[in-house]
Structure formats: C-alpha cells, structure tokens
C-alpha cells in the first residue's frame, strides 16, 4: 500500500564537535606576542626560511623550530579570493576578499582579509599593511589585525620577490649552520 501523505522533504541533520583546545608550546609564544601587538615567526635553521604563523615544525625539513623572529606588519599579496556568498556562522558580510599575504621578512604566506579598497582593485603583488584593532581589546589572536589595507607603493613582481626570499633564506641557512659548526 501507499502512504497518502506529503513526504517530508528536508530534515536538519547537524553534527557538532565540541573541543577544548590547549595551545602547543610552539604556538603559545606566537599567541602571547599577538597580545603585545607583535608578529612572531620562527626561523627554520634547516632551510633558513622564516615561518609565520609558527606551528613548531618546518614543513620542508620536518625539523622542530625554536628561533623567534619578529616580523613587519606590512607585506605583499601573493594571491586572493573574493567571496560573494555568505558563509554560515561567519561574521563576515560578502563581498569580501581573503588574501595570501607574504609579510616582509617571512617566507610563508598567511591568510587574512583585505579592505579599504575596491574589490576589483585587489591585485597580485599589491603592497598592504595591517590595520590593528584598538589596543584595549587585543587578545591572543591574529584577529587583533582587523584587516590589511593597500599602501601607496608600486606592484611587486612576486616571482622576483620569491626568488629574492630564497636567496636570503639560503644566506640565513648557511649562517645558522655555521653557528652550529662553530
């Protein structure tokens, strides 16, 4: 027999995972530095690259990283995405632009928001600087930077930038290994 009822067409089936997270010993100094308004990266002595945010291990060599490096809050856009659809649970109102930003002195890009410019004006190689929230509300998070805004500097050739980064990293690697040999 059939059931003479209109079928239920949709049902909610959410899954929630509740975590209690403890910061690792590697990322804890980074989080404390954020509260002071400092961007703390780690130098990988195996590759000479400066990693930000520091996760405690170098992704290339797998070696633990310890050496702190304070980074500039300006950098270069390596890539970006403009989001036009709302993300459930997100505070962000579309359209907004998320960029991979290579901070000056770092060898690893970090993701953050771009604002104070037209969405169509965002470009690869654009120079940007951090816009910080009020100091009174700083906490242990990268959210102390509200977003990055463009600065009036010419576009950077990112292939050339990455080449220069690699040369500098090699110098740092050699001097770090020299220190170990001495």
């Amino acid at each position: 027999m059939d059931i003479d009822l209109d079928p239920i067409e949709q049902l909610d089936a959410p899954i929630y995972h509740r975590y209690h997270a403890t910061s690792s010993r590697a990322i804890t100094p980074f989080l404390h530095a954020m509260k002071r308004g400092e961007l703390l990266g780690h130098l990988s002595t195996a590759t000479g690259k400066v990693l930000f945010p520091p996760l405690g291990a170098c992704p290339e060599s797998g070696q633990a990283t310890h050496m702190p490096v304070i980074l500039s809050d300006s950098g270069t856009v390596l890539g970006f995405t403009t989001v036009h659809l709302p993300i459930p649970g997100s505070k962000l109102v579309p359209p907004f632009t998320v960029a991979n930003i290579l901070l000056d002195g770092a060898d690893q890009a970090c993701g953050h928001l771009i604002s104070e410019c037209e969405i169509n004006a965002v470009a690869i190689g654009m120079r940007v600087t951090a816009v910080w929230r009020a100091k009174e509300i700083w906490n242990n998070s990268l959210e102390n930077i509200e977003y990055f805004r463009p600065i009036a500097e010419p576009l950077v050739d990112i292939d050339e930038l990455q080449k220069q980064c690699l040369i500098k990293a090699n110098h740092r690697k050699k001097s770090a290994q020299g220190d170990q040999d001495a």
Binding site: M1, I8, E9, L11, D12, H17, H20, S23, H32
Partner: protein
C-alpha cells in the same frame, strides 16, 4: 625557548556541520506518517517486512513501494544500558540503546529503551512506543520505548 606550562593557553570551541538532508519520497512518507503517530514498514521482494523502511531492497537493490502498517508494539531483543548519559545523549536519566523488533516486522532496529533500571529489562519483553510530545517528521518523533508487559496486546 620552551614555554612554561602555566603560560599555555586554553579555549573551548565548537565545530559545526549544519547539514540538511533530503530523505527522498519513501523515507519522506515514512517520516510524514511518524509525525501523525502512524508507523509503517516496507515489504521487501522476498516478502519480509523491513522497519524502518528502505528505499531499495537490501538484497536485490530493486525499488520498494509496498508500505505495511505496523502497530506501536514490539519486542526487546538486546540492549546496552547507559548508566551515566552524557550531554550528546540529550537525556539525563539512565536508559538503554536497544534493538527492538516491532510486531509484524522481520528485522530489529536501534532505538532508546526507558526503564527504572537495567534489572527491569529482559530478552523478549513486550515494549511499546513512547511518542515525542512535539513531532517534526523525524525518527526522534518516536521518543523511545517503554515496557508493555502486563498489557493486552
């Protein structure tokens, strides 16, 4: 540069996957009936009655359509007693996760069984549906099962 333990930071956070699902016509009708406190199984190609209904025959994969009305009575086959329910069980009293076979169905299914204690449960005991007060067309419209021992069936 090792951070002293007392400087480590802690925080709670919740990761949510807010899925909605489309159950399809067969399951959709089954759920619509549950909302009306009506219980249906479905007849498989070998004549056995499946509860809850499936859209396809588990052996031949052919589409199934022949709903079979069932009552709110069944038998308790086996169970695991949950003495200390946790938050995600959404029930504060001890209960059992139980395999229950509805009268007229040929296979058991998993649901909640309520009793004062585990000692009140026995293999093969008669049980009946306890309906949820607010029904929205979901398997949880059946809140759980309670004993039907000593009742006429």
């Amino acid at each position: 540069m090792t951070e002293p333990r007392e400087n480590l930071l802690e925080a709670d956070f919740e990761l949510g996957f807010t899925y909605t699902r489309s159950p399809g016509v067969i399951i959709g009708k089954f759920l619509a009936a549950l909302q009306q406190q009506q219980i249906y199984g479905i007849r498989a190609n070998d004549g056995t009655v499946l509860f809850p209904p499936t859209e396809y025959d588990p052996r031949t994969a052919e589409s199934l359509h022949d709903f079979v009305p069932l009552t709110d009575l069944g038998r308790l086959l086996y169970w695991t007693w949950i003495d200390q329910p946790r938050d995600h069980h959404q029930i504060s009293q001890p209960f059992a996760f139980a395999m229950i076979q509805l009268d007229g169905a040929d296979v058991p299914f998993l649901h909640r069984m309520f009793a004062d204690s585990a000692e009140h449960l026995s293999v093969g005991m008669a049980v009946k549906v306890q309906w949820a007060e607010q029904r929205r067309g979901a398997i949880t419209d059946i809140h759980g099962f309670v004993t039907a021992e000593g009742e006429q069936s």
